[in-house]
């Protein structure tokens, strides 16, 4: 048995399709939803722990990609370099999980690494390049 942590990014048009339940039956996998953020108005995002055979997981992920879902392995950490961050706020709408957000009162940019899925979208979007990737 193998386990794998992955992030599924759903485009808007796939929000309604039962992708996860299909891979369970098609490839005999077990799954654990670590986090999901899917609303009809925007793109969807799901963090999953998959369990099954190595081959089964590979085939399942290939099939999911064919359906139009972007699959991202979850194996890196993104960190904020506090010395470089100038709290400008260019990252907060780029982050898909609101791991980066602004404190309403101080307008300071907060980073909650527990919510971060290491998609790395913030890395190039940060003007002073304060977001760093650690393997």
């Amino acid at each position: 048995m193998a386990t794998r942590r992955v992030v599924f990014h759903y485009p808007r048009q796939l929000i309604d399709s039962p992708v996860v339940s299909q891979i369970v039956s098609k490839y005999n996998l077990e799954f654990n939803i670590l986090r999901a953020n899917i609303t009809p108005q925007s793109e969807g995002l799901m963090v999953l722990g998959l369990q099954g055979t190595e081959d089964g997981i590979e085939q399942a992920l290939a099939w999911v990609r064919e359906q139009g879902v972007a699959v991202q392995p979850l194996e890196k950490d993104v960190m904020r370099n506090g010395d470089k961050c100038t709290h400008c706020g260019a990252c907060v709408t780029i982050c898909p999980t609101e791991a980066l957000c602004k404190d309403a009162a101080t307008q300071e940019v907060l980073f909650d690494s527990a919510k971060c899925i290491a998609c790395e979208l913030c890395v190039p979007a940060c003007p002073p390049r304060a977001m760093e990737v650690a393997l």
């Binding site: 100038t86 400008c88 260019a90 709408t93 780029i94 957000c101 309403a104 307008q107 979007a125």
Partner: protein, 404 residues
């Protein structure tokens, strides 16, 4: 009773001055009224911290031996302008490293450029100067490669032709499919996000909307040190539409500013990379506004909800100068985290750091309260709403090639 600059400066010297930030002034005027506030408060401090293109630095390296009249120069492989004299250089904030791939693989990373060189100079890091020349009798040198450091330069001053924009566009992307990469940050397709860039109620020129107290010679906070306004900024546009309170409804006034980089701190002058666009420089700038009378008390009490900015499409409207804004929103709405555009809730991000702006206003307060910073009366005020001055587009005139 109107106050004079001299009276306020006497109070600063004697430690009697009352100085508050533009944020604090809002509550004071709301509670006591503008007339009483004008009597109580002498100075209001402002601040802004954001990417300010049209920034750059002059430096004089001193003469090498043999002497060289520099024709072409590079600082850490970023081209600097040398067409001034022999060893005077100007490095612009948006200049890219030579041979940078730019947007060949779009969106380009734009990792390093003039803004970063300026930050490193201020931080006291060594910078590599490379120069070439044609050689003359008086300046025989033809090549130069050496490390330089700000401490050894004769002069090194920030000289920014356009900073501190008085209000600005609020950027969105109406393209249904394509994310776009702009100087206003990454804008997601189909109204995916909104980016704004102003400190709003703390912003220098929004607290003196008609430039009654700012002009040539005004002493300011620039990059962590004292600096000066030396001219109106480029694209200064005082005649735009204004609200009843006099606040421009979009980009309007700008400042040309200058200051000694040897006194500055790299905390307030930061090279930045705008994904898919280029490099720039985050600059911290603040003003100390004399509350000369009731009108200045009212102006300096402007608040976010009373400052509106135009929502502008950067996929089509801005690049091709088509159509007008999609509407106006105020900075209270923008700072709340989402606004409504076309009946849709859109999340807001920003490029201007409000926490840093607040810090600048507080530092200026401290400088004034401790008698380290005096106000300077401008030798000439900036052109205002009655000047007739407008920011014009280029009138393109086709160039006919000559046929022999």
């Amino acid at each position: 009773m109107p106050k004079t600059y001299q009276e306020i400066n006497e109070k600063i010297k004697s430690g009697q001055v009352v100085v508050v930030s533009a944020e604090e002034m809002i509550g004071i005027v709301e509670e006591d009224g503008a007339a009483k506030a004008a009597e109580q408060v002498d100075v209001v401090t402002t601040g802004t911290f954001g990417p300010m293109c049209s920034s750059g630095a002059f430096l004089n390296t001193g003469h090498a031996n043999p002497r060289i009249k520099i024709l072409k120069a590079w600082l850490n492989d970023v081209p600097a302008y040398a067409g001034l004299a022999a060893v005077d250089l100007y490095i612009g904030a948006t200049e890219m490293t030579e041979h940078d791939p730019l947007n060949i693989d779009h969106p380009g990373d734009f990792r390093y450029g003039g803004g970063h060189v300026i930050e490193e100079l201020i931080a006291g890091q060594d910078v590599r100067l490379r120069a070439t020349a044609h050689g003359t009798d008086c300046y025989p040198g033809k090549e130069l490669e050496t490390w330089i450091n700000i401490a050894d330069l004769n002069e090194c001053f920030l000289c920014n032709p356009r900073n501190a924009y008085q209000n600005y566009n609020v950027a969105v992307n109406l393209d249904s499919e394509r994310d776009i990469y702009t100087y206003m940050g990454v804008l997601k397709a189909d109204l995916g996000n909104v980016n704004y860039c102003s400190a709003g109620q703390l912003s220098p020129l929004l607290n003196d909307p008609y430039y009654r107290t700012i002009g040539i010679g005004t002493r300011i906070f620039l990059g962590g040190a004292e600096g000066y306004v030396f001219w109106q900024g480029t694209q200064h546009n005082p005649t735009v539409a204004r609200t009843e309170q006099g606040v421009p409804k979009g980009g309007a006034g700008t400042l040309s500013v200058v200051g000694d980089m040897k006194q500055m701190s790299a905390e307030w002058v930061v090279g930045v990379s705008m994904y898919g666009y280029g490099v720039s420089l985050q600059v911290g700038l603040g003003t100390a506004i004399p509350v000369l009378d009731e009108e200045m008390a009212r102006f300096t009490a402007i608040k976010d909800e009373d400052i509106v900015a135009p929502v502008t499409d950067y996929s089509r409207s801005y690049p091709y100068s088509e159509g007008g804004p999609l509407g106006h929103v105020n900075y209270k709405e923008l700072k709340s985290g989402q606004i409504t555009v076309d009946d849709r809730e859109v999340p807001t991000g920003s490029l201007s750091s409000y926490p840093k702006a607040r810090e600048i206003a507080e530092i200026l307060k401290d400088w004034i309260e401790t008698g380290h910073f005096l106000l300077s009366e401008p030798a000439e005020l900036l052109p205002s709403a009655d000047s007739g001055l407008t920011f014009k587009p280029l009138r393109e005139r086709p160039v006919q090639s000559e046929v022999i």
